[in-house]
Assembly symmetry: C2
Homo-oligomer: 204 residues x 2
Amino acid sequence: MNIKQKGLLIVLSGPSGVGKGTVRKELFNLTDKLKYSISMTTRQKRPGEEDGKDYYFVTKDEFIKRIEKNKFLEHAQFVGNYYGTPLDKIEECINKGDDMLLEIEVNGATQVRHKLPEAVLIFLVPPTKADLYERLKSRGTETEEVIQERIKKADSEFPEARFYDYIVVNDNVADAAKRILEIINAEHSKRIRVYDEYIKMLKK
Amino acid sequence: MNIKQKGLLIVLSGPSGVGKGTVRKELFNLTDKLKYSISMTTRQKRPGEEDGKDYYFVTKDEFIKRIEKNKFLEHAQFVGNYYGTPLDKIEECINKGDDMLLEIEVNGATQVRHKLPEAVLIFLVPPTKADLYERLKSRGTETEEVIQERIKKADSEFPEARFYDYIVVNDNVADAAKRILEIINAEHSKRIRVYDEYIKMLKK
Protein backbone atom coordinates (compact mmCIF):
# COMPACT_ATOMS: atom_id res chain seq x y z
CA MET A 1 0.00 0.00 0.00
CA ASN A 2 1.31 3.41 -0.97
CA ILE A 3 0.02 6.49 0.79
CA LYS A 4 -2.35 8.33 -1.59
CA GLN A 5 -0.60 10.92 -3.76
CA LYS A 6 -0.36 12.46 -7.20
CA GLY A 7 1.24 10.42 -9.96
CA LEU A 8 4.90 10.94 -10.76
CA LEU A 9 6.37 12.36 -13.91
CA ILE A 10 9.50 10.34 -14.62
CA VAL A 11 11.92 11.81 -17.13
CA LEU A 12 14.35 9.36 -18.71
CA SER A 13 17.18 11.03 -20.56
CA GLY A 14 20.89 10.65 -21.18
CA PRO A 15 23.55 11.22 -23.81
CA SER A 16 22.94 10.42 -27.43
CA GLY A 17 23.36 6.69 -28.09
CA VAL A 18 23.24 5.48 -24.48
CA GLY A 19 20.22 3.25 -25.17
CA LYS A 20 17.29 5.20 -23.68
CA GLY A 21 14.73 3.61 -26.03
CA THR A 22 15.83 0.04 -25.31
CA VAL A 23 15.82 0.56 -21.54
CA ARG A 24 12.43 2.28 -21.74
CA LYS A 25 10.94 -0.70 -23.61
CA GLU A 26 12.36 -3.13 -21.06
CA LEU A 27 10.93 -0.98 -18.24
CA PHE A 28 7.46 -1.22 -19.78
CA ASN A 29 7.87 -5.00 -19.85
CA LEU A 30 8.47 -4.94 -16.09
CA THR A 31 5.41 -2.92 -15.10
CA ASP A 32 1.93 -2.15 -16.37
CA LYS A 33 1.45 0.73 -13.94
CA LEU A 34 3.35 3.26 -15.98
CA LYS A 35 1.90 5.40 -18.79
CA TYR A 36 4.03 6.52 -21.67
CA SER A 37 3.94 10.13 -22.77
CA ILE A 38 3.36 10.34 -26.52
CA SER A 39 5.21 13.18 -28.21
CA MET A 40 3.77 15.55 -30.76
CA THR A 41 5.69 16.12 -33.98
CA THR A 42 5.54 17.91 -37.30
CA ARG A 43 7.56 15.28 -39.10
CA GLN A 44 5.98 13.00 -41.72
CA LYS A 45 4.29 9.86 -40.50
CA ARG A 46 6.39 6.81 -41.49
CA PRO A 47 4.86 3.55 -42.77
CA GLY A 48 3.44 1.56 -39.87
CA GLU A 49 3.23 4.54 -37.51
CA GLU A 50 -0.08 5.45 -35.94
CA ASP A 51 -1.32 8.88 -34.93
CA GLY A 52 -1.94 8.92 -31.15
CA LYS A 53 0.18 5.84 -30.63
CA ASP A 54 3.68 6.52 -31.94
CA TYR A 55 3.25 10.29 -32.10
CA TYR A 56 0.58 12.91 -32.39
CA PHE A 57 1.16 14.16 -35.93
CA VAL A 58 0.34 17.83 -36.49
CA THR A 59 1.19 20.59 -38.96
CA LYS A 60 3.88 23.19 -38.33
CA ASP A 61 1.20 25.89 -37.95
CA GLU A 62 -0.66 23.86 -35.34
CA PHE A 63 2.60 23.16 -33.48
CA ILE A 64 3.63 26.82 -33.38
CA LYS A 65 0.16 27.84 -32.14
CA ARG A 66 0.57 25.36 -29.29
CA ILE A 67 4.00 26.73 -28.40
CA GLU A 68 2.50 30.23 -28.22
CA LYS A 69 -0.28 28.97 -25.94
CA ASN A 70 2.36 27.37 -23.66
CA LYS A 71 0.90 23.94 -24.24
CA PHE A 72 4.17 22.02 -24.17
CA LEU A 73 6.12 20.80 -21.18
CA GLU A 74 9.17 20.91 -23.45
CA HIS A 75 9.80 21.14 -27.15
CA ALA A 76 12.71 21.17 -29.56
CA GLN A 77 13.60 21.33 -33.21
CA PHE A 78 15.55 18.48 -34.76
CA VAL A 79 16.57 18.25 -38.43
CA GLY A 80 13.96 20.82 -39.41
CA ASN A 81 11.06 19.20 -37.52
CA TYR A 82 9.42 20.08 -34.23
CA TYR A 83 9.01 17.61 -31.39
CA GLY A 84 7.22 18.37 -28.13
CA THR A 85 5.56 16.92 -25.02
CA PRO A 86 1.89 17.97 -24.64
CA LEU A 87 1.37 19.31 -21.14
CA ASP A 88 -2.38 18.57 -20.83
CA LYS A 89 -1.97 14.78 -21.13
CA ILE A 90 0.66 14.77 -18.39
CA GLU A 91 -1.40 16.87 -15.99
CA GLU A 92 -4.45 14.69 -16.58
CA CYS A 93 -2.41 11.55 -15.89
CA ILE A 94 -0.63 12.63 -12.72
CA ASN A 95 -3.73 14.27 -11.25
CA LYS A 96 -5.45 10.90 -11.63
CA GLY A 97 -2.60 9.39 -9.57
CA ASP A 98 -0.94 7.54 -12.46
CA ASP A 99 2.78 7.68 -13.17
CA MET A 100 3.96 8.84 -16.57
CA LEU A 101 7.29 8.26 -18.25
CA LEU A 102 8.86 10.68 -20.66
CA GLU A 103 11.86 9.59 -22.71
CA ILE A 104 13.48 12.70 -24.10
CA GLU A 105 16.70 14.35 -25.22
CA VAL A 106 18.90 16.10 -22.69
CA ASN A 107 17.83 19.54 -23.91
CA GLY A 108 14.17 18.86 -23.23
CA ALA A 109 14.82 17.47 -19.77
CA THR A 110 16.35 20.75 -18.66
CA GLN A 111 13.11 22.51 -19.66
CA VAL A 112 11.11 20.01 -17.57
CA ARG A 113 13.24 20.69 -14.48
CA HIS A 114 12.20 24.35 -14.67
CA LYS A 115 8.52 23.84 -15.45
CA LEU A 116 7.81 20.88 -13.18
CA PRO A 117 10.33 20.74 -10.32
CA GLU A 118 8.57 17.75 -8.73
CA ALA A 119 9.42 15.59 -11.77
CA VAL A 120 11.90 12.76 -11.20
CA LEU A 121 14.86 13.15 -13.55
CA ILE A 122 16.88 10.06 -14.38
CA PHE A 123 20.08 10.27 -16.41
CA LEU A 124 21.12 7.06 -18.13
CA VAL A 125 24.88 6.72 -18.61
CA PRO A 126 27.21 4.16 -20.23
CA PRO A 127 29.66 2.23 -18.00
CA THR A 128 32.49 4.23 -19.62
CA LYS A 129 32.80 6.92 -22.25
CA ALA A 130 34.69 4.48 -24.50
CA ASP A 131 31.73 2.12 -24.26
CA LEU A 132 29.37 4.77 -25.65
CA TYR A 133 31.72 5.61 -28.51
CA GLU A 134 31.79 1.89 -29.37
CA ARG A 135 28.00 1.74 -29.40
CA LEU A 136 27.75 4.74 -31.68
CA LYS A 137 30.32 3.30 -34.07
CA SER A 138 28.94 -0.23 -34.12
CA ARG A 139 25.48 0.78 -35.27
CA GLY A 140 26.94 0.53 -38.74
CA THR A 141 24.12 2.40 -40.42
CA GLU A 142 25.72 5.81 -40.27
CA THR A 143 28.55 7.57 -42.06
CA GLU A 144 31.77 8.49 -40.26
CA GLU A 145 30.66 12.13 -40.33
CA VAL A 146 27.34 11.38 -38.61
CA ILE A 147 29.12 9.25 -36.02
CA GLN A 148 31.56 12.06 -35.24
CA GLU A 149 28.64 14.48 -34.86
CA ARG A 150 26.86 12.14 -32.45
CA ILE A 151 30.05 11.71 -30.40
CA LYS A 152 30.37 15.47 -30.20
CA LYS A 153 26.73 15.75 -29.13
CA ALA A 154 27.15 13.02 -26.47
CA ASP A 155 30.27 14.73 -25.14
CA SER A 156 28.36 17.97 -24.67
CA GLU A 157 25.54 16.10 -22.90
CA PHE A 158 27.56 14.15 -20.32
CA PRO A 159 28.00 17.07 -17.86
CA GLU A 160 24.23 17.72 -17.86
CA ALA A 161 23.94 14.83 -15.40
CA ARG A 162 24.50 17.38 -12.65
CA PHE A 163 20.90 18.64 -12.99
CA TYR A 164 19.35 15.21 -12.52
CA ASP A 165 18.05 13.41 -9.44
CA TYR A 166 19.47 10.01 -10.34
CA ILE A 167 22.29 8.61 -12.46
CA VAL A 168 21.71 5.05 -13.68
CA VAL A 169 24.38 3.00 -15.44
CA ASN A 170 23.23 1.12 -18.52
CA ASP A 171 25.73 -1.73 -18.23
CA ASN A 172 22.94 -4.16 -18.94
CA VAL A 173 19.41 -3.34 -20.15
CA ALA A 174 17.56 -5.60 -17.67
CA ASP A 175 19.45 -4.24 -14.65
CA ALA A 176 19.09 -0.62 -15.75
CA ALA A 177 15.32 -1.04 -16.21
CA LYS A 178 14.99 -2.76 -12.83
CA ARG A 179 16.93 0.05 -11.19
CA ILE A 180 14.61 2.64 -12.72
CA LEU A 181 11.55 0.74 -11.49
CA GLU A 182 13.04 0.70 -7.98
CA ILE A 183 13.61 4.45 -8.19
CA ILE A 184 9.96 5.00 -9.17
CA ASN A 185 8.74 2.81 -6.30
CA ALA A 186 11.05 4.50 -3.80
CA GLU A 187 9.91 7.97 -4.90
CA HIS A 188 6.36 7.00 -3.89
CA SER A 189 7.52 6.64 -0.28
CA LYS A 190 9.28 10.00 -0.14
CA ARG A 191 8.18 11.95 2.88
CA ILE A 192 7.75 15.20 0.90
CA ARG A 193 5.25 13.44 -1.39
CA VAL A 194 3.15 11.72 1.25
CA TYR A 195 3.37 13.76 4.44
CA ASP A 196 0.06 15.65 4.07
CA GLU A 197 -1.84 12.47 3.36
CA TYR A 198 -0.07 10.71 6.24
CA ILE A 199 -1.27 13.39 8.64
CA LYS A 200 -4.84 12.82 7.40
CA MET A 201 -4.38 9.09 7.91
CA LEU A 202 -3.49 9.67 11.54
CA LYS A 203 -7.05 10.80 12.16
CA LYS A 204 -8.35 7.34 11.34
CA MET B 1 26.52 -2.03 -11.68
CA ASN B 2 26.36 0.81 -9.21
CA ILE B 3 28.75 3.71 -9.52
CA LYS B 4 31.42 3.38 -6.79
CA GLN B 5 30.46 5.16 -3.57
CA LYS B 6 30.47 5.00 0.21
CA GLY B 7 28.06 2.62 1.89
CA LEU B 8 24.73 3.92 3.15
CA LEU B 9 23.59 4.19 6.72
CA ILE B 10 19.92 3.25 6.71
CA VAL B 11 17.93 4.17 9.81
CA LEU B 12 14.70 2.26 10.33
CA SER B 13 12.46 3.76 12.95
CA GLY B 14 8.79 4.42 13.64
CA PRO B 15 6.28 4.63 16.46
CA SER B 16 6.29 2.14 19.29
CA GLY B 17 4.59 -1.10 18.26
CA VAL B 18 4.60 -0.54 14.49
CA GLY B 19 6.61 -3.70 13.84
CA LYS B 20 10.13 -2.42 13.15
CA GLY B 21 11.81 -5.63 14.33
CA THR B 22 9.64 -7.92 12.19
CA VAL B 23 10.12 -5.82 9.06
CA ARG B 24 13.87 -5.63 9.71
CA LYS B 25 14.12 -9.42 9.96
CA GLU B 26 12.18 -9.83 6.70
CA LEU B 27 14.47 -7.28 5.02
CA PHE B 28 17.52 -9.32 6.02
CA ASN B 29 15.86 -12.35 4.43
CA LEU B 30 15.62 -10.42 1.14
CA THR B 31 19.24 -9.34 0.90
CA ASP B 32 22.66 -10.43 2.08
CA LYS B 33 24.29 -7.12 1.16
CA LEU B 34 23.19 -5.29 4.26
CA LYS B 35 25.03 -5.26 7.59
CA TYR B 36 23.18 -4.89 10.85
CA SER B 37 24.41 -2.40 13.42
CA ILE B 38 24.74 -4.10 16.80
CA SER B 39 23.85 -1.86 19.74
CA MET B 40 25.81 -1.51 22.94
CA THR B 41 23.97 -1.84 26.24
CA THR B 42 24.47 -1.87 29.98
CA ARG B 43 21.55 -4.20 30.61
CA GLN B 44 22.07 -7.77 31.80
CA LYS B 45 22.70 -10.43 29.18
CA ARG B 46 19.63 -12.68 28.90
CA PRO B 47 19.89 -16.47 28.48
CA GLY B 48 20.75 -17.30 24.86
CA GLU B 49 22.11 -13.85 24.05
CA GLU B 50 25.65 -13.50 22.75
CA ASP B 51 28.04 -10.60 23.26
CA GLY B 52 28.91 -9.11 19.85
CA LYS B 53 25.91 -10.72 18.19
CA ASP B 54 22.77 -9.56 20.00
CA TYR B 55 24.44 -6.64 21.75
CA TYR B 56 27.80 -5.50 22.95
CA PHE B 57 27.41 -5.85 26.71
CA VAL B 58 29.39 -3.33 28.76
CA THR B 59 29.34 -1.86 32.27
CA LYS B 60 27.73 1.45 33.09
CA ASP B 61 31.19 2.99 33.70
CA GLU B 62 32.43 1.85 30.31
CA PHE B 63 29.28 3.19 28.64
CA ILE B 64 29.54 6.61 30.27
CA LYS B 65 33.23 6.87 29.30
CA ARG B 66 32.24 6.21 25.70
CA ILE B 67 29.55 8.89 25.82
CA GLU B 68 32.14 11.37 27.08
CA LYS B 69 34.49 10.42 24.23
CA ASN B 70 31.65 10.99 21.73
CA LYS B 71 31.81 7.38 20.60
CA PHE B 72 28.10 6.92 19.98
CA LEU B 73 26.09 7.90 16.93
CA GLU B 74 23.10 7.99 19.27
CA HIS B 75 22.31 6.74 22.73
CA ALA B 76 19.40 6.67 25.14
CA GLN B 77 18.37 5.48 28.56
CA PHE B 78 15.45 3.07 28.87
CA VAL B 79 14.16 1.57 32.14
CA GLY B 80 17.42 2.39 33.89
CA ASN B 81 19.72 0.92 31.24
CA TYR B 82 21.78 2.58 28.55
CA TYR B 83 21.54 1.67 24.86
CA GLY B 84 23.72 3.15 22.14
CA THR B 85 25.02 2.79 18.58
CA PRO B 86 28.84 2.58 18.39
CA LEU B 87 30.06 5.09 15.82
CA ASP B 88 33.35 3.35 14.91
CA LYS B 89 31.65 0.20 13.54
CA ILE B 90 29.41 2.29 11.30
CA GLU B 91 32.22 4.41 9.90
CA GLU B 92 34.31 1.31 9.23
CA CYS B 93 31.39 -0.30 7.39
CA ILE B 94 30.34 2.61 5.17
CA ASN B 95 33.92 3.57 4.35
CA LYS B 96 34.37 0.02 3.04
CA GLY B 97 31.35 0.64 0.77
CA ASP B 98 28.94 -1.62 2.66
CA ASP B 99 25.43 -0.56 3.68
CA MET B 100 24.44 -0.72 7.32
CA LEU B 101 20.99 -0.82 8.85
CA LEU B 102 20.15 0.64 12.19
CA GLU B 103 16.80 -0.18 13.79
CA ILE B 104 16.21 2.34 16.54
CA GLU B 105 13.67 4.29 18.55
CA VAL B 106 12.38 7.62 17.25
CA ASN B 107 14.45 9.57 19.78
CA GLY B 108 17.71 8.06 18.57
CA ALA B 109 16.90 8.68 14.92
CA THR B 110 16.68 12.42 15.52
CA GLN B 111 20.23 12.33 16.92
CA VAL B 112 21.41 10.52 13.77
CA ARG B 113 19.89 13.18 11.50
CA HIS B 114 22.08 15.77 13.20
CA LYS B 115 25.30 13.77 13.36
CA LEU B 116 25.15 12.08 9.96
CA PRO B 117 22.98 14.09 7.55
CA GLU B 118 23.73 11.72 4.66
CA ALA B 119 21.98 8.86 6.48
CA VAL B 120 18.75 7.58 4.91
CA LEU B 121 15.91 7.87 7.44
CA ILE B 122 12.91 5.61 6.98
CA PHE B 123 9.81 5.98 9.15
CA LEU B 124 7.63 2.89 9.35
CA VAL B 125 3.93 3.65 9.93
CA PRO B 126 0.77 1.60 10.43
CA PRO B 127 -2.00 1.81 7.78
CA THR B 128 -4.11 3.71 10.34
CA LYS B 129 -3.72 4.86 13.92
CA ALA B 130 -6.50 2.49 14.99
CA ASP B 131 -4.50 -0.37 13.49
CA LEU B 132 -1.49 0.41 15.70
CA TYR B 133 -3.67 0.62 18.82
CA GLU B 134 -5.04 -2.82 17.95
CA ARG B 135 -1.53 -4.24 17.59
CA LEU B 136 -0.47 -2.86 20.96
CA LYS B 137 -3.57 -4.26 22.66
CA SER B 138 -3.47 -7.68 21.03
CA ARG B 139 0.04 -8.52 22.22
CA GLY B 140 -1.71 -9.78 25.34
CA THR B 141 1.43 -9.91 27.43
CA GLU B 142 1.10 -6.49 28.94
CA THR B 143 -1.11 -4.86 31.55
CA GLU B 144 -3.68 -2.22 30.61
CA GLU B 145 -1.43 0.41 32.18
CA VAL B 146 1.59 -0.55 30.06
CA ILE B 147 -0.60 -0.57 26.94
CA GLN B 148 -1.87 2.92 27.68
CA GLU B 149 1.70 4.11 28.17
CA ARG B 150 2.79 2.64 24.85
CA ILE B 151 -0.19 4.27 23.09
CA LYS B 152 0.79 7.59 24.61
CA LYS B 153 4.39 7.07 23.49
CA ALA B 154 3.30 6.15 19.93
CA ASP B 155 1.05 9.22 19.77
CA SER B 156 3.97 11.47 20.62
CA GLU B 157 6.14 9.76 17.99
CA PHE B 158 3.79 9.96 14.97
CA PRO B 159 4.56 13.61 14.11
CA GLU B 160 8.32 12.89 14.08
CA ALA B 161 7.81 11.49 10.58
CA ARG B 162 8.37 15.01 9.31
CA PHE B 163 12.14 14.71 9.88
CA TYR B 164 12.48 11.54 7.82
CA ASP B 165 13.34 10.98 4.16
CA TYR B 166 10.79 8.25 3.57
CA ILE B 167 7.50 7.08 5.07
CA VAL B 168 6.76 3.39 4.52
CA VAL B 169 3.42 1.80 5.40
CA ASN B 170 3.62 -1.52 7.22
CA ASP B 171 0.33 -2.90 5.91
CA ASN B 172 2.08 -6.17 5.23
CA VAL B 173 5.56 -7.23 6.38
CA ALA B 174 6.74 -8.62 3.02
CA ASP B 175 5.66 -5.51 1.08
CA ALA B 176 7.13 -3.12 3.64
CA ALA B 177 10.49 -4.94 3.55
CA LYS B 178 10.49 -4.97 -0.26
CA ARG B 179 9.76 -1.26 -0.32
CA ILE B 180 12.68 -0.58 2.02
CA LEU B 181 15.01 -2.63 -0.19
CA GLU B 182 13.90 -0.61 -3.21
CA ILE B 183 14.60 2.61 -1.32
CA ILE B 184 18.12 1.39 -0.49
CA ASN B 185 18.77 0.44 -4.12
CA ALA B 186 17.36 3.74 -5.42
CA GLU B 187 19.51 5.74 -3.00
CA HIS B 188 22.59 4.20 -4.60
CA SER B 189 21.67 5.88 -7.89
CA LYS B 190 21.16 9.34 -6.38
CA ARG B 191 23.12 11.92 -8.28
CA ILE B 192 24.44 13.58 -5.11
CA ARG B 193 26.02 10.27 -4.04
CA VAL B 194 27.63 9.31 -7.36
CA TYR B 195 28.37 12.51 -9.26
CA ASP B 196 32.07 12.79 -8.38
CA GLU B 197 32.73 9.19 -9.29
CA TYR B 198 30.71 9.60 -12.51
CA ILE B 199 32.93 12.50 -13.55
CA LYS B 200 35.99 10.29 -12.99
CA MET B 201 34.35 7.55 -15.07
CA LEU B 202 34.02 9.96 -17.98
CA LYS B 203 37.76 9.98 -18.32
CA LYS B 204 37.75 6.29 -19.23
